[in-house]
Amino acid sequence: MKGASVMPSTDSRSRYLVLALASRSLIKSLLVYVDEGHADAQLEASLNDVTESLRASKDVNRLFGPIPTESPFRNYEQVMILEEAEEALNVGDIGDKLSHALRNSPDRETRRRSVEDAVEFFYALENRALHHYNREMGARDI
C-alpha cells in the first residue's frame, strides 16, 4: 500500500476531501460525546468502520486490502492515509484505542481522556487528507 504514487484525478481528489469531511464529522461527534455523555449509533458504526479498515489493510491473508464500499475509509487513497496517520501518530494500536473510546462513563474528565487519542488521530487524518487534496490540486494546475 505504501510508496505508490497515483496520477491526480478528480476521483482521488474527491476521496481525499470526503475523508477530511468524514474525519471532521467524527471529531465533532466525539466532542459532543464528551460534553453530553452519549454517543449516537452513527458514531459507533463509523469508529468500527475505521477499525475494520485498519485491520483489513494489515491482514497479510488479504491480497487486495479492504474491499471499497460507500464508506469514506475504504478506498485505496483513504486506506493509505489511515496508515500514514497511524504511523505518524505513533500511539500504539490505534484500532484498539478507537474500539474502547466510547466507554459511556458518567464522568466528563474520564470521557475526555478516553477519546483524546481518537480525536488526535482523526485530526491527523483530516490534516493529511487536506494536504493530499491540496497537493493534487497543485499537480492538476501544472
Binding site: S14, L17, A20, L21, R24, I27, V119, Y123, E126, N127, L130, Y133, N134
Partner: protein, 137 residues
C-alpha cells in the same frame, strides 16, 4: 528582599500578559479566517438566488441551486457562532481551526459546480426553446 519580590511579581505579570496576548492573537486569527470563509460562502450563495422569476431554471438546476443556498445559510449560521464555541484552552484551537480549512475546501469544490449551473438558465440553454418550438408545431 523587597526588590526581589517586586521583580518576581513584575515577571509574573509580564508572563500573564504574554500568555493573554498569545491567546488573543490566536482568537483574532480564527476570527479572521471565519470572516474570510463567510464572505466566500456568501459570494457563492449570491449565484443561487432562485426566488425571483428571472433567471428561470430547469427543475434540476433550480433544485440544486436551492439546495446550495440552504447549505450556505446553514454554513453561515455555523460560522457566525464559531468564535463563541472556541475552547478555553488555546492549545485545542488547532483542532477547531482545521475545520475552517475543510469547510473552505468543500465550498471550493461546490463553487466549481455552482457557476456552470447558475449560468445555464433557460435563456441560454437550447433545450427549453427547442421544447417550446416542438410544442408550438
Amino acid at each position: 528582599m523587597l526588590w526581589r519580590i517586586v521583580r518576581f511579581i513584575t515577571t509574573i505579570v509580564r508572563w500573564a500578559h504574554e500568555i493573554f496576548k498569545c491567546r488573543m492573537d490566536a482568537r483574532d486569527h480564527i476570527r479572521h479566517d471565519v470572516a474570510s470563509l463567510y464572505r466566500f460562502v456568501e459570494t457563492i450563495c449570491a449565484f443561487c438566488a432562485t426566488d425571483s422569476e428571472y433567471p428561470a431554471y430547469l427543475e434540476a438546476s433550480r433544485k440544486f441551486l436551492s439546495y446550495i443556498e440552504e447549505l450556505g445559510k446553514t454554513t453561515k449560521d455555523h460560522l457566525a457562532s464559531f468564535p463563541d464555541k472556541l475552547p478555553a484552552n488555546p492549545t485545542d484551537y488547532k483542532i477547531y481551526r482545521q475545520e475552517l480549512v475543510t469547510l473552505r475546501s468543500a465550498w471550493f469544490e461546490l463553487h466549481k459546480r455552482v457557476k456552470p449551473s447558475a449560468d445555464a438558465d433557460m435563456l441560454r440553454l437550447p433545450a427549453p426553446s427547442s421544447a417550446f418550438d416542438l410544442r408550438a408545431s
